[in-house]
Amino acid sequence: MKSFITLKKVGVAAVSLGFASFSTASFADDTLRIVSWGGAYQKGQSVGIFQPAAEAMGITVKEDTYGGISDVKLMVKSGADKFDIFSSGAGGCASGGAEGILEKLDYSVIDVSNHLPGMYSDYCAGADIFSVVAAWNTETYGDNGPRSWADFFDVEKFPGTRAMRAKVDSQLEAALLADGVAKEDIYKVLDSEEGIDRALDKIRSIKPHIAVWWTSGAQHAQLMKDGEVDMTTGWNGRFDVAKLDGAKVAYDWKTGIMDWEGYGIPKGVKNKDLAMKYIAEMMKPEYMAEFAKYITYGPTNKLVYELNLMEEARARQMPSHPENAKHQMTLRTDWYAKWRTIAAEKYTEMMTE
């Protein structure tokens, strides 16, 4: 998800190199291999979650990067044994689960009783929450940028260039919110081809104003930093990092579409039971609080807030902070499992028109 084509390739290369070393080593029962997205994101995971959790359990956890759910599919289908746990967006897990390449998670081992609603699924134990928001250039609009999706799609009230994602994820939800659909009803409307077309027509209506279709978080952050576009859809954490870097960028939580990342287990791994216990350990609030110090992706475990494990100022920056979360809608992965291919093909068709 937060990857970048090039980084992804490097990641894949790194993984394949890593695999070579993995396969030659013999694995004891107390060793797990986990893969994630690399970069600042995995650094936070490593320091905040992976290693402390491994230490607490007295096991060894080896880390590597990977290229996403298609790598999991490759591994499972070819019968290779390369990693035991992967970090993935909820949507990726959902489609992997539908493909039958993932182990069902055992929630009698993994405690999700304190998770925020909807932040775990059969194949994915939610670990952090990010939001897709509408970000604007404060040099163009000052403080009064597009504070709702209706504003983002209103090219008369907010003239200027826009960027949207080159993939369908979260974009249709934004378009329907702009079209006046209540956030509770978004997935009801989207549950038919007509509903998908309605969202696509809304995007078509501003297509001449869309200067760039972005493909990665690094790219949309750069677009805002360089002033290449006046507003864009994108991940909150990227904008926060860009802002620290001097970018003139702001966003309103009212545009937030919450989505989450978690851990899954590829089908047929030998250390399945240990992997399950390790995921259970990583669900503890103290690890999530530590991770959030490194990037503004908030905890799925609400105990982090209830036990005040995070400084208040930092906690307020998280998408999942109750004060921020109350404005937002939550992305539903079951919709993606059902409609992704149809919606994605229609989206590409709209882009190429």
């Binding site: 489609s95 493909e99 994605a344 093909e345 590409t348 068709e349």
Partner: protein, 295 residues
């Protein structure tokens, strides 16, 4: 030389010719095996995979999808449009440069060649991002032009077709220049001189003598550029801003979308077949033999 050759009789000559024949066949054998193992087999495999559906059984779904969605035909049209335009611009820019290099003394030509080759050795990714940095809305070119008053507002160079073409022409140019220059250097300068001595103007001598003799190099260069362009991924992805979607990009996104090699292979098969068709038609229109004969 002549005296020695006359000493051989017919039979010995034939035997020698046969031996040479087998020697050269033996030398090409490793290559043929390599082509078979590395090209023919994988392409056959690709072809088979394209008929395997998401559930693993034989199906035409990967091809049906291409017929049902207008996106695929548009993506193929974009792919060929961008490839043809890139090839054309490369020819327009590369031919005069290669000609110039072939006419100046070798020492200076070698210096020019370094200029051609240095960008060739630089990472494709680096060059692509360099164009982005130079040409974006608040990039170097636009900022300087606006500050100097040459432009009233920035020109949209990148995140569209023009940006993709600028990047691709820059990357592809050496592939056209190298075979063309080698060909032009090999053209006997006396041919052009002979034309002049028979009264041809320099322009006439160029078009009737030099240009036809340079055709094999030009056609080789055009073919290499065109075929390489068809598979381009990074440059259109970065400089096209999502406005230019080429076949390679859709192949990659189809793997992510369908989790099946078939969905991607079918695109590869169509691209391969259409390309071979285009090259076949082109070879009928422009007969290679016509220009291939040097004598």
């Amino acid at each position: 030389m002549v005296g020695i050759e006359q000493n051989f009789n017919q039979a010995e000559l034939a035997q020698l010719a046969r031996r040479e024949h087998y020697t050269f066949f033996g030398l090409t054998l490793p290559y043929l095996v390599l082509v078979g193992a590395m090209i023919i087999v994988p392409i056959g495999w690709l072809f088979l995979l394209s008929f395997i559906g998401r559930d693993g059984s034989f199906s035409f779904e990967n091809y049906e999808r291409m017929i049902n969605s207008k996106a695929y035909i548009r993506i193929f049209l974009t792919t060929f449009k961008i490839s043809i335009l890139t090839t054309l611009f490369c020819a327009l820019l590369g031919y005069p440069l290669a000609y110039f290099m072939s006419q100046i003394p070798r020492k200076w030509a070698n210096i020019c060649m370094i200029g051609v080759l240095i960008p060739f050795w630089t990472s494709l990714l680096v060059r692509t991002y360099a164009w982005l940095v130079l040409l974006q809305k608040k990039g170097l070119v636009n900022t300087v032009a606006v500050d100097l008053g040459l432009l009233s507002e920035p020109i949209k160079f990148v995140h569209n077709t023009s940006g993709t073409l600028i990047g691709m022409v820059h990357i592809m140019l050496p592939f056209l220049i190298l075979p063309l220059y080698a060909n032009m250097r090999a053209i006997d300068p006396h041919c052009v001189k002979a034309a002049s001595s028979l009264g041809a103007t320099p322009v006439r001598a160029f078009w009737t003598v030099f240009f036809p003799l340079s055709m094999p190099g030009l056609i080789a260069g055009l073919l290499i550029v065109f075929v390489l362009c068809l598979g381009f991924y990074v440059t259109p992805a970065v400089l096209g801003g999502g406005k230019v979607i080429m076949a390679a990009m859709k192949i990659s996104s189809n793997i992510e979308l369908y989790f099946s090699w078939g969905a991607a292979s079918a695109l590869g098969v169509v691209l391969l077949v259409v390309t071979m068709l285009i090259l076949f038609i082109a070879s009928k229109l422009v007969s290679l033999d016509q220009f291939g004969q040097r004598s």
